[in-house]
Point group: C2
Chain length 353, copies 2
Amino acid sequence: MDYKRIKDQNKEHDAVHDDIETSRGKPLSGSANSMVMLGGNSSVQSKWKRKSAVTLALTVLTSSQAILIVWSKRAGKYEYSVTTANFLVEALKCALSLAALTRIWRNEGVTEDNRLSTSWDEVNVYPIPAALYLIKNLLQYYIFAYVDAPGYQILKNLNIISTGILYRIILKKQLSEIQWAAFILLCAGCTTAQLNSNSDRVLQTPFQGWVMAIVMALLSGFAGVYTEAIIKKRPSRNINVQNFWLYVFGMAFNAIAILVQDFDAVMNKGFFHGYSLVTVLMILNHALSGIAVSMVMKYADNIVKVYSTSVAMLLTAVLSVFLFGFHLSLAFFLGSTVVSVAVYLHSIGKLQR
Amino acid sequence: MDYKRIKDQNKEHDAVHDDIETSRGKPLSGSANSMVMLGGNSSVQSKWKRKSAVTLALTVLTSSQAILIVWSKRAGKYEYSVTTANFLVEALKCALSLAALTRIWRNEGVTEDNRLSTSWDEVNVYPIPAALYLIKNLLQYYIFAYVDAPGYQILKNLNIISTGILYRIILKKQLSEIQWAAFILLCAGCTTAQLNSNSDRVLQTPFQGWVMAIVMALLSGFAGVYTEAIIKKRPSRNINVQNFWLYVFGMAFNAIAILVQDFDAVMNKGFFHGYSLVTVLMILNHALSGIAVSMVMKYADNIVKVYSTSVAMLLTAVLSVFLFGFHLSLAFFLGSTVVSVAVYLHSIGKLQR
């Protein structure tokens, strides 16, 4: 039951968490690059190794993200502006992408694929994911009129289904019947693992709440799938350049959010008011997770991303037993079993296609 | 949450319920026979039609069984001896088998396959399922020292797993990888659907409780699989004869149970003390369910039986919303989703074998 606390973030933490999602819309850098290179030299590394490495990185980063959230809650509330933190996450990702590019230019020289300059034709779609996340984050403030925070955590699992459907429609990629069954199980299993004694309240969500939750799930799923489409459209284009442009627009949209939501607070108390060590670590983690998500989109896909972050959620709960003395619920064990079978079926389903 | 009530039977009702399981160890009669014949003339009926008909009958009977239990609880407690009710269920099944046989003898004459007389070689295995259920029912009185009634309902889902494993080992029948995955999902889904706010207590079950629950699941699974082995060993033998002998031993073992547990009550208050209309309906239902189980074992298998009774559990809950105004929990919806996917995967898995 206590495990719920990880997920039952209040509005403020949700915002930070979603900002990670904002960052998820975009991708890659030096540090993540070297993470991938752990598996061996990039040129001899098989595609499979690279895919596994980025997926593992995303899983580990997502797990530690939830751990940081619990830690920050234990340490007490920090009254920092969430919008400034979001902006810094985008700026950090942008800087890391540029650092990676600088190294690449030094080693390989500037080529058609890794040059930073771009055409209107290439760059005009890059603001779309950032804009979608901004709309979703704005909607988030309104949905709490209809659903409480734990209920919202439950409803967020609709993202899994929306990602699957939009992945099929927009990217036109096939999932086998078994893989679809596995995806439904992933959604049911994740939700089951998060059940607590108050979860039934979510069934009393009014119609408007359901509509908003579904719209938000579609926005989030669309942003993810659209990012994959953008990144994969030019397979030879260096991922750091693609990330750079995604993050530039991420910074721009978050700057707007600062002006709209936290202008007074930033003016009166300063940009960094309320920041602590945990805040800095969270920003660092969110930046690296965002880059890992981009890598997963480049070298794997949204489906892998969803499995990776779902497994991370379960890993976090198990880690929390040791770190914070949490108790795992029977629902958690059942949900984990269903998620494990889903992962197995997804891989089996792939082989039989 | 309220739905739990159906399953959270107290000791007394559990005993009745398990007695049904005792009866499940054995098989067939006139009324069930005519139920099967609804699908068309027995000679032209395809195997598939017969299999579907018995499976449907079992599902409907199991659902109404749970409804009767709720009804009897609402009507107040009846202080009848559970052992006498069990005995009557066996006797009724025996009588129904004989009635069916009489009709068959009249129509087809007495043949090698439908004659009642038997050899020691054929009949010597028939007492084994009844004996196993008796041991299991006796153990049931001790497990409540370690687990409460709702916890026991949760642990009973271990039967699903034990049936699958013993089905594989004893009947040496193969399940595909996907069907195994589906079976694990069935168990997880059924347990999820039964979750309520007190379910986590089951995790505190002491070691002895777990051992007893596992032993009971193995006994129950073994009895079911062994009954299937007995019935299928002689495919041409009339199911009514096989049932007759199974039920004769069922009567004998239940007579022992009356002597051991309720001798004083029966002597002082009479055999039928505390009986009501609901009691009579429950005995009738249990007898017909027992016969349906036998038919499923003859024409389908234990795996179909487990799916059928699991789906019945979910149907009952949905029916209870209309009949008793129960509220379905989020856990119930999630568990039902997982069970539905399991049923789908089981059928898909079969095709791909």
